[in-house]
């Protein structure tokens, strides 16, 4: 489904060329929860950016269904194929919860009414009922906001969910809930869920743990 083929990503600092991702080849499959772990600066987030089409590799290819991201319209790719969840939720502060989840649908030209119906379903699927719909993100707890972010991810047509430290700002109970949702999405809804994390609970729940060291991966 999503694979990396000899992917190298470099950037230059003041003194030298840094290999943030160093010749990684890997295949991600749907229906599985992957945990990418590693120390700070090991290249986890860079790898996530490459998988999300937010950046392109310096060398090698990121392939989605055998098509390299270099040849794709990356905006369309993010709109329809992959979706990203962030540690700080990154909801639109001026839109209500429902409007936030409707955003990817409206971007895909789904009518307002239909988008609202789908968004409500997605919100309910992550455990947020109607009382939340008209609230602004600032009125929700961190765990609730992260659920909204997941609902927004589910509202797009994507079948790959990328998550960057999704539990980084949450307490243990909320973390557990979020991990439960992500696991369910992988196993029951056949999503390919790739999580970059420091959280050991996630790595324990993951189907595959990918350890990154100095831009390279070590599979466990």
């Amino acid at each position: 489904m999503l694979s990396l083929q000899n992917v190298i990503y470099t950037y230059r600092n003041k003194y030298q060329t840094i290999y943030a991702v160093n010749n990684i080849t890997y295949n991600f499959k749907s229906g599985k929860l992957y945990a990418i772990i590693g120390k700070s600066g090991s290249g986890k987030t860079t790898l996530l950016s490459l998988l999300a089409g937010l950046d392109l590799p310096t060398q090698g290819k990121v392939l989605y269904e055998d098509k390299p991201t270099q040849t794709m319209d990356c905006d369309l790719y993010r709109k329809n194929k992959v979706t990203v969840i962030y540690q700080s939720y990154n909801l639109f502060p001026f839109l209500t919860i429902l409007e936030n989840v409707m955003y990817p649908l409206r971007l895909n030209k789904v009518s307002k009414k239909e988008a609202a119906e789908v968004a409500m379903k997605k919100l309910k699927s992550v455990g947020l009922d109607e009382q939340y719909f008209k609230r602004l993100p600032s009125m929700l707890s961190g765990g609730e906001q992260q659920r909204v972010a997941i609902a927004r991810a589910l509202a797009s047509k994507a079948d790959v969910i990328l998550a960057d430290e999704p539990t980084g700002n949450l307490d243990s109970e909320n973390s557990k809930n979020i991990i439960g949702i992500l696991k369910r999405l992988a196993h029951e809804n056949n999503y390919c869920v790739i999580v970059v994390t420091h959280d050991l609970t996630i790595s324990e729940e993951a189907d595959v743990i990918i350890r990154m060291v100095d831009g390279k991966i070590q599979t466990e």
């Binding site: 987030t45 996530l48 950016s49 999300a52 937010l54 950046d55 905006d75 369309l76 790719y77 993010r78 709109k79 329809n80 979706t83 990203v84 962030y86 540690q87 700080s88 990154n90 909801l91 639109f92 502060p93 001026f94 839109l95 409007e99 955003y103 990817p104 409206r106 971007l107 030209k109 602004l136 927004r152 797009s156 960057d164 430290e165 980084g168």
Partner: protein, 423 residues
């Protein structure tokens, strides 16, 4: 279409920020209008002063102590009366006379009153009384209205008769009593006119109708300048004048005209101090002096000019500051929304759409602020002076172009880097 709905939604929810931006642009637009209004009004006031404040110039003797009985010669009088003037054989582009208005001239000749059929007794003329021709009553102090001498005009005559070329005159009330009238009550004078300075056998006969009287028993007769001018030419073959004064037509031309005056006159300032102009090219020595009463004009004008000069220096600075504020405001607006734009991009929103959303919002707020500023200016000042459209458009462009540049910069940096900033 969704992006427009998004922009409207965002503006509704972020109303405080929108109001702040709107107030900023309306304040700057209003400020630019008021600044322009002040400068233009001061310029208009300056023009009014230049137009309406009369600067009088009076020809005098070289010390500036005598302004009457000067025997001003033909070449000087002609300068002021002719439609063209030459200097050192070269015709002036703008004739001397076109710089002046309200020319006041006076010339006194001698007259002897003749009865019908009476022969002229030449010897009697030159011991006789004065026939004074003038353009304005005020040129002769004896009948000056300000000295409260009451003048009674017959029929529909007024002071303006002195500017006409009618053969009419006014005489003293006492003299009028003694003059013969015709059957209809009109009084016609038959005069033998000469000049005491010329040979005794040169005289001319002139008939004048009496159309008014002045208080007193003087034997002076006052007639229009044109009559005396014609008599002067007939008697002496040339024109001269006792006194000459005038006002400047366009005070903005004063300095240029002073240079022309320096060809013929030395200069006496209003304190009585004689100052030489640069030596005349055609006159070996000056025969007359001139006093230019421009003190009030200079004082009034210099004060307003100083104000205008300061404002004119400030104007480009203020406009530049306004443009800079517009630019900075748009930068801050965009910077505050950096995260939001990055989220939009990460969800697959095209750069053009992000740019469009920011542009719609910025443009809308800028236009609304500008419109309110202009409406406020209209309500207060009714567009008495048109707004400075150039500066306003430049401000709007800076505001919008600024935000466009910053949005373009932001949507082109790494989305992940922006989104990770908060963590």
């Amino acid at each position: 279409m969704y992006i427009i709905a998004y922009a409207i939604n965002r503006m509704k929810r972020g109303i405080k920020g929108c109001i702040a931006l709107t107030i900023l642009s309306l304040s700057l637009v209003l400020f630019l209008c008021l600044l322009n209004d002040t400068i233009v009004k001061k310029e208009r006031r300056l023009n009014e002063i230049y137009k309406n404040l009369d600067v009088e110039c009076v020809v005098s003797n070289l010390r500036g102590t005598q302004t009457d009985n000067l025997n001003i010669k033909d070449y000087i009088v002609s300068l002021f009366l002719s439609d063209e003037s030459t200097f050192l054989g070269i015709k002036d582009e703008i004739p001397f006379s076109s710089y002046i208005k309200d020319l006041k001239l006076k010339l006194t000749l001698k007259y002897e009153l003749l009865l019908e059929g009476q022969e002229v007794l030449i010897s009697a003329i030159f011991s006789a009384s004065n026939l004074i021709g003038q353009t304005h009553l005020s040129t002769d102090n004896k009948v000056l209205q300000e000295s409260n001498v009451v003048i009674t005009y017959f029929e529909n005559y007024t002071d303006s008769l002195f500017l006409s070329d009618e053969s009419v005159c006014i005489v003293s009330a006492d003299q009028y009593q003694t003059l013969p009238k015709d059957n209809e009550g009109y009084c016609y004078l038959r005069l033998a006119v000469g000049d005491s300075g010329y040979s005794e056998d040169v005289f001319a006969e002139q008939r004048l109708k009496v159309v008014g009287t002045y208080e007193g028993d003087s034997r002076n007769i006052y007639c229009p300048w044109e009559i005396i001018k014609a008599l002067s030419v007939r008697i002496m073959g040339m024109l001269h004048a006792d006194s000459l004064s005038f006002s400047i037509k366009d005070n903005r031309q004063l300095d240029t005209f002073k240079e022309l005056l320096a060809r013929y006159f030395t200069y006496v300032d209003i304190t009585g101090t004689v100052k030489d102009y640069t030596a005349s090219d055609i006159l070996t020595s000056y025969e007359y002096a001139i006093t230019v009463y421009d003190g009030v004009l200079n004082k009034t004008v210099s004060r307003i000019k100083d104000n205008i000069d300061v404002l004119e220096i400030l104007r480009p600075i203020i406009i530049m500051i306004s443009l800079l504020i517009g630019f900075l405001a748009s930068f801050l607006f965009v910077r505050n929304r950096k995260q939001e734009f990055a989220v939009m991009r990460s969800l697959g929103t095209k750069k053009g759409m992000v740019f469009g959303e920011a542009f719609i919002e910025q443009f809308f707020l800028g236009i609304i602020g500008t419109a309110i500023g202009l409406i406020a200016y209209y309500v207060w000042y009714h567009f008495e002076i048109m707004p400075p459209w150039g500066s306003i458009i430049a401000f709007l462009l800076c505001y919008i172009i600024g935000s466009s540049i910053f949005v373009s910069l932001i949507v082109n940096v790494k989305v992940m880097a922006i989104l990770k900033e908060k963590e």
